[in-house]
């Protein structure tokens, strides 16, 4: 047995093992979206599920994204046939409720589904605090490069996509993103001459997670 040669050969395995070990910490299915940091694609869509109380909007009302400037927008794409959407439903509904009265707009966007089924689903889930709009032909979903449902987009007060979340969203992520985007908006308002402040905050928010 040539011990020296054997040990050198054995050591060559280290980089391969290292690469695999590092690879296991990555999610091969998380594909970075080209959107964060860019202006969110505009849309005008009709409300089909009104939401509840203070957050509600009448059915048939047109929601225009450009009208929501100045607010943080949480755009959640969902469908009644989507199982993971059930997991995140109460998180979204409860967190949205807790931000009532603040400059935040939660909006559900129905994806590849019919409004009747969507309404029935909301009833089955025990209601939803914020309104949902229909996206016939999935045109807005295509604009946003949707990969599947659920996906949640966080838009800052200037109408840029700050962050995209794939899969069921948790209350923690929701609160953290919404809070940091609202803080960034307040900072920008306090120092209107320094637009760099808000882009800086966006990138930061986009990098977390």
């Amino acid at each position: 047995m040539n011990w020296k040669r054997a040990s050198i050969a054995a050591a060559t395995a280290a980089p391969v093992i290292g690469l695999f070990a590092w690879g296991l910490t990555r999610d091969p299915n998380s594909i970075p979206s080209p959107l964060p940091g860019r202006e969110a694609p505009a849309f005008t869509l009709q409300v089909f599920a009104p939401g509840q109380g203070e957050l509600s909007r009448p059915v048939g009302d047109s929601v225009r994204l450009t009208d929501l400037r100045g607010k943080v927008v949480v755009l959640n794409f969902w469908a009644s046939w989507c199982l993971a959407c059930r997991d995140e439903h109460s998180a979204l509904s409860d967190v949205a409720q807790s931000y009532a009265g603040q400059p935040v707009q939660f909006l559900g966007v129905l994806y590849n589904d019919v409004p009747d089924k969507g309404t029935a689903w909301i009833a089955e889930m025990g209601g939803q605090s914020y309104p949902s709009v229909d996206d016939p032909g999935a045109r807005v979903a295509i604009d946003y490069g949707l990969y599947g449902v659920p996906e949640t987009f966080f838009l800052d007060a200037t109408g840029r996509v700050a962050y995209k979340h794939t899969g069921p969203v948790t209350p923690r992520v929701l609160r953290y993103k919404v809070d940091s985007l609202m803080a960034a908006a307040r900072q920008a308002a306090a120092a209107p001459a320094a637009p760099a402040a808000d882009t800086g905050a966006n990138t930061k928010a986009g990098k977390v997670q």
Binding site: N2, R5, A6, A10, I17, F20
Partner: protein, 664 residues
């Protein structure tokens, strides 16, 4: 009850393999051959226990015992019994159980057949097999435990993944793959055994495992071909190979194992390439484990990926142990592995084998790099990339073409040194057939250089390999006055390994023709048809007759009846379908294929009007595709010829000199 029996069997098997793996080396070190029976008993006991556990799990599946987590995960009362049984390998945990069982079976069999052999090779091989088995038992009691209790017991389960219960080949492809993959553990264990016992310079480990290696290789070959066939028949895209990481995972060990089957002859014949062969076999095993790691850990995005968990880290640890240990052993033993002979002439069979090994190895590394590149790119540059078909096709086509060419040259070359005149006579039939094939391809419209070369060399290899049978049989007819067919069968049974190899070559030629034909001349078209309307692709006319629907216990089926017309006559009826499973939102398309020797008509139902007034279908003309499946069959027949025991030559009938010359 069933659950406890199944689980406890694995726990006991874990204990038995651990004890055996510790006890075995002690027995060998102390030189106590009378203790070896306990080591071998551990191997047999492990087999009995894993068999018990596997049977219990199958019983749990068939009896719909939803208190077992695996049954609750993949079982359903509506699933037909056949698909219930084969869901044993339909998900991660069950597939590990099946793996452990196949491994236990191989280990018990190879130890039983070699238990009386002198020396320390077999005991160390048995220990290696036990260590590998131990790893799978750890998975089964840890991250891939299929026997967890479920409470409250559900009344029904979701059933297996619809894609996996849509075709009968799901009952064929995975077991073949496991038999091949796991079977390669046997030659690996003996390679390690040879290194541990110091018998590494001797060919013992190669001779003992020859039939095992060829069998495992044949199973792997059959599995790859069956997998291609399954993908072709089920997935509806009309292709059979996509260079998906998991396809590559099964292909890489196949490449190194095929290289080994060739280069090992150089060692047996000339005493050369000893270190190389050891490396090839160890590498082949590492690649099987790597392939399993890629599939099971979720490290690389793939269509085949299983659900993931912590199992990736267990596999990583195992790969680390195997890599470090084998690199250590091989490098440490390399001094003992000097060649006895050396190359005599550039134009000889040895050279052909060397080139063959060079191409196979480079081929494997190309596939490996393509498969792992996304991971490397993300680690080095932080970007997500995907490596697709264009890379693999561009990089591997030259090697495939070169290998097919070698497959024609190699059999014509004698060992040591070739003589010009004889060589010409042997190559001539190949050249003629090759030119005929290439011209035919050009006439049919092939304009791609590789495609024409593939036809040329496939024809060349076919000519040379068939010529070997004809020449040998003719020599026997002359020498013994036998009838030609008797001469042929005696020729083959007198040197099974050689003619088994040539048969396998002919199988590869058929696969090549199918692949080259379908990729060069494929035509497809999509159309929306009302009843009575027709669509024509590559001169084949199909008429839409009607759309229909029917309820089956586990699914709803929508189908379209299409008629393949020959003038006014209906040549065949083809029924592509869509299967709706309750657990799946989107339907599972189920194409229908009608095969002829010239090619397949491949029909896929894309969409339909609910009232049946029209359907959208995709029609693909797939020339020569059935030859791929046929080639796979011929490859396996070649392997079977190669592993059957040699017929003892009667001493009174020596082989004709013309025949003995140039034999391996």
């Amino acid at each position: 009850m069933t659950r406890l029996l199944a689980f406890n069997s694995i726990v006991v098997a874990l204990a038995v393999t651990t004890l055996g793996a510790i006890f075995g080396p002690i027995a060998v070190r102390k030189g106590r051959r009378d203790w070896l029976m306990y080591l071998y008993a551990a191997v047999y006991t492990n087999f009995a226990l894993v068999t018990l556990s596997t049977l219990a799990l199958v019983y749990g599946l068939v009896s719909h015992d939803f208190s077992i987590s695996y049954v609750a995960q993949v079982g359903s009362r509506a699933t037909p019994t056949f698909y219930t049984i084969i869901s044993l390998w339909g998900a991660l945990e069950g597939s590990i159980v099946f793996w452990a069982w196949v491994l236990a079976l191989y280990a018990a069999a190879v130890v039983w057949f070699n238990r009386k052999r002198e020396g320390n090779l077999v005991p160390y091989a048995a220990v290696t097999l036990l260590v590998v088995a131990l790893f799978f038992h750890i998975l089964l009691v840890g991250p891939a435990n299929p026997f967890l209790p479920v409470f409250p017991v559900p009344f029904d389960g979701p059933g297996p993944n619809p894609l996996l219960q849509n075709h009968i080949l799901m009952g064929v492809h995975p077991p073949l793959l496991y038999l091949g993959y796991v079977g390669l553990t046997v030659p690996f264990a003996f390679a390690v055994g040879a290194m541990l016992s110091g018998e590494v310079a001797d060919d013992g480990w190669i001779r003992i495992t020859r039939r095992w290696t060829i069998s495992a290789w044949a199973f792997l070959t059959a599995a790859i071909v069956a997998g291609m066939w399954w993908s072709y028949e089920v997935l509806g895209w009309g292709g059979y190979w996509a260079w998906d990481p998991v396809e590559n995972a099964s292909f890489m060990p196949w490449l190194t194992c095929t290289a080994y089957l060739h280069s090992v002859m150089v060692q047996e014949r000339r005493g050369m390439l000893k270190l190389w062969n050891l490396n090839l076999m160890v590498g082949t095993f590492v690649l099987t484990i790597l392939g399993t790691f890629l599939t099971r850990s979720g490290i690389i995005s793939s269509v085949h990926a299983f659900t993931t968990g912590t199992i990736g880290y267990y596999f990583l640890a195992f790969i680390a142990v195997v890599l470090v240990a084998t690199l250590f052993l091989v490098a440490g033993n390399s001094d003992k592995l000097a060649s006895d002979g050396r190359l005599d002439a550039p134009l000889s069979r040895e050279t052909a084998f060397l080139l063959n090994n060079l191409f196979f190895t480079v081929f494997m590394f190309t596939v490996l790099i393509g498969t792992l590149f996304p991971l490397v790119a993300e680690a080095v540059r932080g970007v997500k990339v995907s490596v697709g078909e264009p890379f693999f096709n561009k990089m591997t086509l030259p090697m495939m073409v070169a290998l097919i060419f070698l497959m024609g040259v190699g059999p014509a070359l004698p060992w040591k040194k070739a003589a010009g005149a004889e060589l010409k006579g042997k190559l001539l039939p190949g050249v003629i057939v090759g030119v005929v094939f290439a011209v035919a391809a050009l006439v049919a419209g092939a304009r791609n250089g590789y495609s024409v070369l593939a036809f040329l060399f496939a024809g060349f290899a076919l000519g040379v390999n068939v010529q070997e049978f004809v020449r040998g049989a003719n020599a026997r007819v002359r020498a013994h006055g036998e009838s030609w067919l008797v001469a042929l069968s005696r020729l083959v049974s007198g040197n099974r390994r050689r003619y088994g190899g040539y048969t396998a070559h002919i199988g590869v030629v058929l696969v090549t023709l199918g692949v080259a034909g379908s990729s060069t001349f494929k035509q497809e078209q999509e159309a929306t048809l009302k009843p009575g309307e027709t669509i024509t692709v590559a001169g084949h006319t199909l008429r839409f007759k009607r759309a229909w629907g029917r309820e089956e216990p586990q699914r709803q089926v929508i189908g379209a009846t299409m008629e393949w017309m020959d003038g006014d006559r209906v040549r065949a009826t083809i029924e592509p379908r869509m299967n709706y499973y309750p657990t799946q939102e989107s339907p599972v398309p189920t194409p229908d294929v009608k095969s002829t020797l010239r090619g397949d008509i491949y029909l896929n139902l894309m969409a339909f009007k609910q009232d049946g007034s029209n359907v959208t279908v995709k029609v693909i003309w797939e020339p020569l595709v059935p030859w791929i499946w046929l080639g796979g069959l011929v490859l396996c027949i070649g392997a079977i010829i190669g592993v059957l025991p040699e017929r003892k030559r009667p001493a009174s009938a020596p082989v004709a000199p013309a025949l003995a010359e140039g034999q391996p």
